[in-house]
């Protein structure tokens, strides 16, 4: 068994080659994510613009009675900003799952060479709910397992803190691949993924380590359970509110301090928004590569052909023919 583990790990490099080729040939894999990234950026921008309006309206009153400011804040908020915030939240939470579902569908079709130009929308709508369900389930799993996990992590001198997410990651890394390849529903996919992970623990372990190390800059703590942090990375820009150009013009007579605050906020948020998009683009390269690779691995299942096929037992007639042939010589 030991030799097989190493051979399977070596096969990872062949899978990387295959993934790279598929990636190069199918640039259309990138369009959904890029579009979604800009949609995210745009929505966050609009949301912040609406918040800026709120800020503009209440800033002259900051010195006044606090409760009055709060009521005014809530009233202004209830209009456009609320709609914007809700829309942004919904798009962010569900949009990334939507994009993921469509992408994995494309991966499955490309790897199995069923279609050369797979459609994004078919996959996205077909697999949206299973993907969403899976992401929620895994999220809940981590919420429930958080305390025991931390406890074990501390007891093992923090080795467990990093190893346990990796081990869980190994078992879960192919659930999305299984969902789109086997097409059997969410729970079968999870079961298949766990079985696949158990059977190919070491090679998949190397894959998960490589994926975690290369995909994040601060690999150590970000390297948690591959699928949880994967979807989390899609959500992370939600917490950063970017800013856009100030369209409402400067209000005259505002406190210079508030002016300064404004400028600081604008600068900060424009940096954050550009960073989110640029870093998101780079992250996307890794996500697509490793996502596609997980499908490649799952389809091939580390197949090692038999080195020495046992020769089939010969038919008795063939043996007689052979002996006759030898006699005739």
């Amino acid at each position: 068994m030991k030799g097989l583990k190493f051979t399977k790990t070596l096969m990872l490099f062949d899978y990387f080659k295959q993934t790279f080729e598929l990636n190069k040939k199918n640039k259309q894999l990138y369009t959904p994510q890029v579009l979604f990234l800009f949609l995210k950026g745009g929505l966050l921008l609009l949301t912040f613009l609406s918040f800026l309006q709120v800020f503009d309206r209440i800033s002259p009153l900051i010195g006044n009675d606090f409760s009055k400011v709060m009521t005014l804040l809530w009233n202004t908020f209830r209009g456009v900003p609320l709609i914007m915030t809700l829309t942004t939240l919904i798009v962010l939470l569900f949009g990334s799952t939507f994009v993921e579902a469509g992408l994995y569908h494309m991966y499955a079709l490309l790897v199995q060479e069923k279609e050369n130009h797979p459609s994004f929308m078919i996959g996205a709508s077909k697999y949206f709910f299973p993907f969403l369900g899976g992401n929620i389930l895994i999220f809940l799993f981590w919420v429930i397992a958080l305390l025991p996990y931390l406890l074990v992590g501390l007891l093992t001198l923090s080795i467990g803190l990093f190893l346990i997410p990796i081990m869980v990651g190994i078992l879960l890394i192919t659930w999305k691949a299984s969902l789109v390849v086997d097409d059997d529903g969410l729970f079968t996919a999870l079961k298949n993924s766990i079985n696949f992970g158990k059977m190919n623990f070491i090679p998949l372990g190397v894959f998960v380590v490589i994926k975690n190390a290369l995909s994040s800059l601060n690999g150590s703590s970000g390297g948690g359970s591959s699928n949880f942090s994967n979807s989390y990375n899609n959500y992370n820009s939600f917490n950063d509110l970017p800013n856009g150009p100030n369209l409402s013009g400067w209000n005259n007579g505002i406190d210079p301090f508030l002016d300064g605050m404004r400028i600081v906020m604008i600068v900060l948020f424009s940096i954050i928004s550009v960073t989110t998009i640029l870093a998101g683009l780079i992250q996307m390269l890794f996500d697509i590569f490793f996502g596609l690779c997980s499908v490649v691995i799952y389809v091939d299942k580390f197949y090692i052909p038999d080195p020495d096929p046992i020769p089939e037992a010969m038919d008795i007639n063939e043996i007689i023919e052979e002996e006759v042939a030898i006699d005739e010589l």
């Binding site: 490099f13 062949d14 093992t156 990093f162 380590v209 190390a213 290369l214 150590s220 640029l278 780079i282």
Partner: protein
Amino acid sequence: MNFNTLMDDMKSALILSKENKGLFIPALLANILFVVVMIAFVVVILISVAGTMFATVNDNFNWSLFIGYFIAAGVFITITSLLFLALDIGISGLVIGVVDGEKVSAGLFFRTIRDTILRIFFTKIGFFFIAAFAFVILFIPVIIYLVTVGIFTAGWGMVFLSCSIQVFFGIWTLILIEDRRQGFESIGVNISFGKKNFWPLLLVFYVNLSLAGYLPSLLGFIGASFAAIFISYMMVTYTKIVLLLSYRRYKAL
């Protein structure tokens, strides 16, 4: 050299590493050396601090003692750098030997150091002056780069910059030992090798950097602090094998 050949080279390098585990003994030595140096450093600091305290206790500031400690620190740093340089050269020698099919041996390790350390050392000194000169000239552009691209790409810019520098200036010692060239000639070869195969080499150094940073954390906080140097030298050894295989492929063209 492209992605496919790189993957093949990485596979071969992994097989070679598994068959010649002795390649990683220098990495272990590096870790031990590092711990020893750290302890020695702390001791030297303690002595010099205590010494300067005693020297100034009577308001007679004893300059010669102070300068003495500076010199001691300088010598200490030079010796340490030389030791780690020798280690690096030895690893390169072992890597070349293993790829040629020889077995790992201490003889090979020390022979390589003996043959090439002077050449490499003086080249490094020469290169240091050039680098210092370049540093002064490039200081402002680099700061601008760090502030703009560095921040806007959330740190990827810095990683890109440091890996790019390694692509052009991180392989020349290996080239020098492999081809038995002169110092600055090897740096030139490194630069042209880097120009021809920039993206695959960038990937090699990025993998080196990220795995060397990520793997220690798998051992927990305590394990990380003890094993970080060992793991980083292990990655360096593996990377050298990959680089050598790629370089030989490049030479053969």
